[in-house]
Symmetry: C2
Subunit: 219 residues, 2 copies
């Protein structure tokens, strides 16, 4: 499958691109600055990554599924910039509404969750899925390492959710159905708590694992 | 220490009372119906539990620390009923703002979190701590069983938080500092997700554990 990663030149985008390449997918990395994304993709290609680069709207057009990983301050503007290109596709929103400098405290956005704001902006014909808020970008980029973190996947569209659960499993992580899109409020607001745990307990990649789920695959 | 448990006649209250007795604490169990709480405490006492019962205001007066475990629909009314009795004490709020029948979807209350609403009602001189939202009441009441769930503890008052972290460890659980009280939004909203996981993956007590925290005690 061809995956577009909007805002894909960061550490998280790199980790996703490397792991999805390993699973047989190809990647279109987007950035506000298309030249930067092309240079980044060329760099990743040296490690065997099946990535090309371009601007965000290009990546959104290229992807059969589109993953959005931008800082919250660029979120609304980016969603508007790609709205036409993602129409009807699955849009996986990884955005966490952090507001620096107080990134270890929950600060709910006006729409209660970034993913809910995204859904309102792109309209009902484009299913939005919230996922991948908790996996450490550092761990993700280290292919030799297993992912010690479950990935919660929330969304209202069953087909879009099933596709996303599969893509998460392709990363090598356990994917869990976390319920309807409104539960993105819980997923997004857990990230400031993880940042607080990292600071308090001297970690660079605290993760979250759910126990006692007999019906879930143990990946 | 003497612990008051307001709304303590449910399964969660029983589990807390049994485990805190084992750690050397004594328990004042409260209920809106004082007679019901006295009968419940008498029943627990047969299992060696150091519990007495009375109405909620009595339990709040008796406790050096007071734990609030009521359904959200009774939350505001109960906090008002005990506000005078808890003045200046540590108030641990376990309330999750579930609104039946849709208990597996996040439904934020007007004040964003029950614990924030509690703090607003009792005033700044009574420190409110949010904790214990995720431990399965069934697991808690089974003393032979370890607790496969970390307990996140959020609050703004350092002394109150330290006291609560200690009480959680006395239950036999790992206690983690989850940051300021506003992070109760994340803690409370994770519970509907756990309910969704229970239903989807056929569990009666999904828990949550945080990984890669080198500075935290492994309990």
């Amino acid at each position: 499958m061809r995956v577009g990663i909007v805002g894909g030149t960061g550490k998280l985008g790199s980790g996703l691109a490397l792991r999805w390449t390993r699973a047989g997918h190809t990647i279109a990395i987007g950035s506000r600055d298309g030249g930067k994304a092309r240079a980044h993709a060329a760099e990743l290609a040296k490690s065997g990554c099946a990535a090309e680069g371009g601007d965000n709207a290009w990546a959104a057009r290229e992807g059969e599924v589109v993953v959005l990983t931008v800082p919250y301050e660029a979120h609304g503007q980016t969603v508007r910039a790609i709205a036409e290109a993602v129409a009807g596709k699955v849009l996986v929103d990884v955005t966490v509404p952090l507001k620096p400098p107080k990134v270890s405290r929950v600060q709910l956005p006006a729409g209660q969750a970034a993913a809910l704001e995204t859904q309102a902006l792109v309209g009902a014909s484009t299913p939005v899925i919230a996922a991948l808020h908790h996996v450490s970008a550092t761990h993700l980029a280290d292919l030799a390492r297993g992912i010690e973190c479950d990935v919660l996947v929330a969304g209202d569209d069953a087909r879009a959710k099933a596709l996303t659960l599969g893509l998460v499993r392709d990363l090598g992580a356990r994917a869990l159905d976390a319920g309807p899109l409104v539960n993105a409020i819980a997923l997004e607001s857990l990230t400031p708590v993880l940042i607080h745990l990292n600071r308090t307990y001297k970690s660079h990649g605290a993760g979250v694992v759910f126990t006692d789920l007999p019906g879930a695959d143990q990946s």
